[in-house]
């Protein structure tokens, strides 16, 4: 069953198409990573799914309903980001109690356990929390609400490395016990990819890739060696990235449609074959032009 179905979804701000003709489905109980550069349209898309924004054109259905102004979507969905605002006078414990009244599946035991683990003082007002602690608190609400559709927009902003690790571990453990549909947006793919099943990669408001993480990992390989040999190997292949090193060496990132035997031969001919980290590949796939930052400095 699909929890989200989107067809030709578009959202414009003035002349800018923040989300541009986007079609995709998200299946029930999958953890999907929404990945893209700054300004790729991640937050806009998540807000369209959550029903916080009105689409400009196209179709979006969440739980078979138009999410905008839908009580069904609102009561089955939670949207966590770093701009969540709570009344300044409320203490954490009051906010948790109110959240418990709102969400049917609220797990107070989990919420209290996490508050305790992350050393948050329940008698503290929300406004006095540091940036990282706010993110941790919001994350606790997101986990404890156990909403059938849980959306995290850049959930780890401001968290230190240890808290990030704990957060993703908590997310995974809770997901194993209570499977649900989860979407996490991030531009730090390497810290989140292990918990993901699928990746939806956005480039300038459009869909760049939507596939299982494990497939994306095997999509490309990096070949490094003498420029001539590399050139020959890359001919006819889909090239994601190309760079010359030193005088006559080069490396290319190409689509890996080589056979096992062919790769073995290539290796024996002295070409170095390495995997391409998923986050690196995503940068190549979403680059706006073929060059890189070096080109800015090489103008002269």
């Amino acid at each position: 069953m699909n929890v989200i179905e989107s067809r030709g979804l578009t959202k414009t701000y003035g002349n800018l198409k923040a989300v541009n003709n986007l079609s995709f489905d998200i299946e029930e109980n999958k953890v999907t990573g929404l990945i893209g550069r700054n300004g790729a349209g991640k937050t806009t898309l998540l807000k369209l799914i959550a029903g916080f924004l009105h689409k400009t054109s196209g179709e979006i259905e969440v739980f078979s309903d138009n999410p905008f102004n839908s009580i069904k979507v609102s009561s089955n969905m939670i949207f966590i980001d770093d701009k969540m605002s709570f009344p300044a006078s409320l203490h954490l414990v009051d906010i948790l109690e109110a959240a418990g009244n709102f969400y049917d599946n609220w797990d107070a035991g989990l919420a209290n356990g996490l508050i305790d683990y992350f050393n948050l003082n329940p008698r503290q007002p929300h406004s006095s929390l540091s940036k990282g602690m706010k993110s941790a608190f919001n994350m606790i609400i997101g986990l404890s609400a156990r909403c059938p559709l849980t959306i995290y927009d850049e959930p780890t902003t401001g968290m230190d490395v240890a808290v990030r690790k704990d957060f993703y571990r908590a997310l995974l453990k809770d997901y194993l016990q209570n499977p649900r549909t989860i979407i996490i947006s991030s531009h730090l793919l390497n810290e989140v990819e292990h918990v993901l099943e699928d990746i939806l990669l956005l480039r300038e408001g459009q869909k760049c890739m939507h596939m299982p993480v494990e497939e994306l990992k095997e999509l490309a390989i990096c070949l490094k060696g003498k420029a001539g040999i590399i050139q020959e190997l890359a001919t006819g292949k889909e090239i994601y990235h190309k760079e010359n090193i030193g005088k006559d060496s080069a490396y290319v990132v190409v689509k890996n449609d080589f056979t096992e035997d062919r790769l073995q031969n290539v290796k024996l001919s002295g070409v170095e074959i390495t995997p391409v980290a998923t986050d690196e590949l995503c940068v190549f796939l979403t680059s706006r032009n073929k060059g890189g930052i070096d080109d800015v400095f090489d103008r002269n």
Binding site: L172, K173, V195, P212, E214, E218, P275
Partner: protein
């Protein structure tokens, strides 16, 4: 339970590493024939990975008949699992390692006799260690 470590930098996909870890568990007889193997959820928890990735690792072994499915009960170790893992590793992994070894020897100008004597020395060394252990 503490998490087991995976190599996330290398060429090997996570689900292949899961399959290999399970094979090693079977080879070392931690899980015996006709015993139930870990579920995708247990593996996900142990290795801190998405359960779909863990399932992919289990399915590789099911496709190779190293595991068999019992409807509603999960996956179990086939009676011939150990032999087929040994056979597979010999034919694939060992063969590739030998190929790399021979290529590197060629690059360094080590001739066949020298290479064979190096292998013999290593074999003696490893054999000696095994002997001490027994």
């Amino acid at each position: 339970m503490s998490q087991l470590k995976l190599n996330t930098e290398g060429m090997k996909p996570i689900y292949v590493q899961i399959a290999e870890w399970l094979e090693t568990e079977i080879l070392s007889a931690s899980i015996k024939s006709d015993e139930k193997i870990y579920s995708q959820y247990q593996l996900a928890e142990m290795f801190n990975i998405n359960p779909a990735t863990a399932a992919k690792g289990l399915n590789i072994l099911a496709d190779e008949k190293i595991l068999y499915k019992k409807r509603g009960l999960g996956m179990f170790v086939s009676p011939k699992a150990k032999e087929s893992i040994q056979e597979k590793r010999k034919n694939q992994i060992l063969k590739n390692l030998v190929l790399e070894l021979v290529t590197e020897a060629g690059r360094l100008g080590v001739d066949e006799n020298e290479l064979i004597s190096m292998i013999k020395t290593s074999n003696k060394f490893v054999g000696g260690r095994d002997h001490e252990r027994n």
